[in-house]
Point group: C2
Chain length 237, copies 2
């Protein structure tokens, strides 16, 4: 799972060393090992070691930086974790929706997930250095996850996505391109007009409904070929 090797967790201005240790443990349980600390209040520290449990090696190899730019220097993507988008003009997704994009990038390049200080999160200046923002959809009235708990959730999402991607790769099923999928919809529509299931004078929302159905599954190339083969077998009757 090389994608996880390209991911680093960047903790900015962390106040409590215990949170650094707990974050290191959270990362390691999910197979993510690169920890960058921007201007931590106390590090190294015995409290961090105590809470790292068996993840002492993650602490030992942690890189301490004076500012966020240093921590991101060799990354192609930085994703900031934040509760609010703060009107910045970058994509703002849930962590689940952001995970596929992050793993796709991490398959080939170094990328960072950036966490702010415990009390107030990322500053606007720090957010400005991120190309994507992600949020954990927490309770509206009490949304304050502990820092290490947030690291755990994000690293968990990345691991699940990385496992799914490597499963897909192992199965060697190639996804259809959008052009191939569009051609299938065109073929489907023509066939349905021929069989008179679809009246082009009164199409209603039939094609939209069918698009909605197929867009929920992610069609593979071979599946599109099978579906079009079925349509051709109808056409040629």
């Amino acid at each position: 799972m090389s994608a996880l090797d390209n991911i680093r967790v960047v903790l900015c201005q962390t106040t409590h060393p215990g949170n650094i240790g707990a974050a290191a443990r959270a990362m390691k349980t999910m197979g993510i090992r690169h920890l960058y600390l921007v201007n931590p209040s106390r590090f190294p520290d015995a409290e961090a070691v105590a809470l790292a449990s068996g993840a002492q090696d993650v602490l030992d190899s942690a890189v301490v930086c004076a500012n966020l730019e240093q921590a991101l220097a060799d990354c192609v993507l930085a994703v900031g974790l934040t509760a609010r988008s703060r009107d910045l003009s970058v994509p703002f997704l849930t962590v689940r929706d952001a995970a596929p994009k992050m793993i796709e990038e991490a398959a080939a390049h170094k990328m960072a997930i950036v966490f702010g200080t415990e009390m107030s999160g990322l500053t606007n200046q720090e957010l400005g250095k991120c190309q994507m923002l992600a949020r954990i959809p927490s309770d509206e009235e009490y949304g304050s996850l502990n820092l290490a708990a947030a690291v755990q959730v994000v690293c968990y999402e990345l691991r699940i996505q990385a496992l799914a991607e490597s499963f897909v790769r192992e199965n060697q099923f190639e996804f259809a391109t959008l052009a191939e999928i569009e051609a299938f919809y065109q073929h489907l529509e023509v066939t349905l007009i021929q069989t008179e299931f679809l009246n082009p004078e009164q199409p209603k929302r039939l094609m939209l409904r069918l698009r909605r159905l197929f867009s929920r599954t992610r069609l593979e190339k071979e599946e599109v070929n099978i579906l079009r083969g079925i349509l051709s077998s109808f056409d040629s009757r």
Copy 2:
């Protein structure tokens, strides 16, 4: 989101009161508030309060039980979190795969997620009281999540699933039953044999491939009706 109101977190034989507090906070951030403590080493305790942060109310309403049966008495489903299945003959799923079933149950009934003691997890006796086992797919070499971190991940999965379900319900699309989906596959197979796309003498894996495609999307009643309408329009030519 009433499903989350029907879910309780059961912590068995917790050694460190700080973990109870951190678990309470993790739960509350995900909108889950019912905490049951089976035979905790120390509770109530100042350390639990300190780590609960704004989730003091979850601690205040926590129910302390002498044994696991008490904690599960009014539940219809108990899901045990464990790293290994230990050859028990109950379903053993990842937390992600288990979440839909859990939320489906919790929509109408009380259900429990059961966590074992910090060092060794659930005992076989405790696991025996669970009707389903779930695991967090953690790193093979270092899979040991902190107790509160595991509670965070599980409650996060349940919240995401509950949000997705309530979104679906708001859209008022009703899912097809398995019987309706099977009838669709039968109809599809008969039609494909008629059009000679499927040779019943050499069926290969065509129907399996098509089942795999449609099982990735969760078909709605109306979608099954549309698909069968399309097949009928072919049949009647």
